[in-house]
């Protein structure tokens, strides 16, 4: 399985980064061709955590298949579940109660913050600063506690199901979310003090991993990776789902095109998410949390596509239905897979240390890439 990797015919050094490497945060395997410290080529080898979720879903019913997607991009599991719920609702033409929609958006945005918190800590750790990781986890833990109380789990919750929600929110939910917002706002300056303003950090990030807007579109980059290059690609704005068209928030765009721009996009996005939650948390409408659906769901014959904005970019779910209880073919267009394809283009000519910074700002989650 592993070919001998040594030097190329031109005498360049080849090294394996991964599948077991501290900076790949999972089982990503990159074969680098190096000239000294300078990268000549990055070649990803995938599949170490490929579970063929697409094939699995072909034998799961429409109620069952969404729980598997929590295991794709495990950091935005709610948003993945939301995409699956939305596509089934689209197929069945079910009207979801307003209460469920609002709660879904709040939960989605909390997930996004939690994901960005983890990214922030892990990226600082990649660059050699270990302390921010723990500071980020302090806030993330608060979100996890909220999730634990309402959804019953901390990572793979399966809370958003076709038709609405698995269960109603916990009575403490609103109170806890408000106290989290307060905590987050009070600690946010620390992020800038510890990392953003730091001269070493800025030097490591600025002008590194430049991705022009044209390339970002051509490589199919989405999410903060593309918004750092000034490409408008926020699905929440462009193709609104749930109630994103009714809340006020800005799409964060940076024009730096480099790693620092992508970093700033994610940092500001956390504040935008907080803004969305603040608008909704006091206005959760009363009512049902679940629409009335049949016990066995059957999508009509046809094809359905749903795009959502996860923490990493655009997730597309494509279902081909033959009218049965299980999908005939299901395809997940994962954001990480496309974002990774731009890595080779970005990394050429930069230093080995820069590759780590680029991988950090692309925010790669390996199960999301492999599916």
């Amino acid at each position: 399985m592993f070919e001998e990797i040594g030097t190329t015919a031109e005498g360049d050094l080849q090294i394996n980064v991964g599948p077991q490497h501290p900076a790949t945060h999972g089982v990503l395997h990159l074969v680098l061709t190096l000239n000294g410290e300078t990268i000549k080529k990055v070649e990803p080898h995938l599949g170490y955590i490929h579970r063929s979720i697409e094939k699995m879903c072909e034998s799961l019913t429409y109620r069952q298949f969404s729980y598997v997607t929590s295991r794709m991009d495990y950091l935005s599991s709610h948003i993945n579940n939301n995409a699956c719920a939305l596509i089934v609702e689209k197929g069945l033409q079910v009207d979801v109660p307003e209460r469920a929609k609002v709660i879904r958006v709040i939960i989605d945005e909390l997930t996004r913050i939690a994901s960005h918190e983890l990214w922030w800590g892990a990226m600082a750790m990649d660059l050699g600063a270990f302390t921010p990781f723990f500071h980020a986890f302090r806030e993330r833990e608060t979100i996890n506690e909220i999730m634990e109380e309402t959804c019953g789990a901390r990572l793979t919750m399966n809370y958003i199901v076709p038709g609405g929600l698995m269960m109603d929110i916990h009575p403490n939910f609103q109170k806890k979310v408000k106290s989290f917002i307060q905590l987050f706002r009070s600690k946010f300056d620390e992020y800038n003090e510890l990392v953003t303003g730091n001269i070493i950090f800025q030097n490591r990030m600025k002008g590194v991993g430049v991705l022009s807007p044209e390339d970002a579109i051509s490589y199919g980059c989405t999410g903060p990776a593309a918004r750092g290059s000034g490409v408008k690609c926020d699905i929440r704005k462009l193709y609104p789902y749930e109630i994103y068209d009714k809340v006020q928030f800005d799409e964060v765009l940076e024009t730096g095109c480099d790693s620092f721009a992508r970093y700033m996009v994610r940092l500001k996005e956390m504040l935008e998410s907080i803004k969305i939650i603040e608008q909704l948390i006091d206005n959760i409408p009363e009512g049902e949390f679940q629409a009335k659906t049949k016990a066995v769901l059957k999508l009509p014959k046809g094809e359905f596509y749903q795009r959502v904005e996860t923490a990493r970019g655009e997730l597309g779910v494509y279902i081909v239905s033959e009218g049965g209880t299980t999908p005939y073919r299901i395809k997940y267009r994962s954001p990480g897979f496309s974002n990774l394809s731009a890595l080779d283009h970005m990394a050429r000519g930069s230093k080995l240390g820069d590759l780590i910074a680029m991988m950090g700002t692309l925010d790669l989650v390996i199960p999301d890439i492999d599916r």
């Binding site: 090294i15 050699g128 270990f130 302390t131 302090r138 030097n203 490591r204 240390g353």
Partner: protein, 358 residues
Amino acid sequence: MLSFSQIASDVDQWLHKVCSPTWALVFEMVIIGVSVIGLFAVLGLVLVLMERRVAAWMQIRLGPNRVGPQGLLQSLADTLKLLVKEGMTPGGSDKFLFNLAPFIAMIAAMLLMAPIAFASNFQIWNINIGVLYVSAVSSLSVIGILMAGWASNNKYSLMGAMRSGAQIVSYELSAGLSILTIVVLSGNLGLNDIVLSQKDGWWIFKGHIPAIIAFIIFMIAVTAETNRAPFDLAEAESELTAGFHTEYSGMKFALFFLAEYINVFIVCAIGATLFLGGWMPFHIGNLEGFNHVMDYIPSSIWFFGKTFFLIFLIMWFRWTFPRLRIDQLLNLEWKYLLPISMFNIILVTVVAIMKWYF
């Protein structure tokens, strides 16, 4: 009063009474060797624990708290674990060099102990060119690292070793220049003489601006020289997994680990000696009364207090800053530190000639 110098001279007198001078010298050397190794072990344990505590508190954690009271025996347990671990030698490596490298790193660190004045009148070897000796021997440690990187037959190790080589060679320069500042001010090369020259105030106060600049540059340069974050490019966990000691395990790894901490201790001791007066208590000019009160605190406490303060400073750097990139690291040295220290050495020469220091 019971002091280190008293004990040393008592032992010396007793040995001369019971045996011939030759044998007395041999016995003294054995005693010194044993106590240096003992000091090594103790320092290693203490510094590892200290680092873990400092890191934990900065990261809003508790740190080691399970083994022994307040987790004080944690590093002892770690040592035990490392001792019983298998020391692997990878196939394809240069076995002789691979096994030799940790000892080179260790011996280079040990040699540096010799000229340091631990307390008043308490020194292993009062060499009159102590500063030069320190600069010379401290650059030997890179040989151990290069050897380890080459012999491991691992690309990560090799790259780590190469980075380390470039780094230590360049940072030697500004470390040396900032040491020179104090040599110029005090007019001495022996470490004990430099300490004695600070009887009426430490150099960092007496030498004002040039001494402070030199101190800052010295701290940056020695952090780089000891391969500590933010200059830990030789290890660079997230880039090179563990850099030059990727392939080492068990006690051989522990020796590298220990050598790193001993190096940190030694450079901090040198820094304390040069800038903060070594074992010299806090004296202000000719205020006899105040100086006399300060003298009641034993000199060894002054020395270790200052050294540990500097060690804490280096740990503080490590747990706050991200790592530099290799080209930025060299830029920092050649474009910023070196010009500043060259300018500084001119400044200090003028200051010394004009007697503008206190």
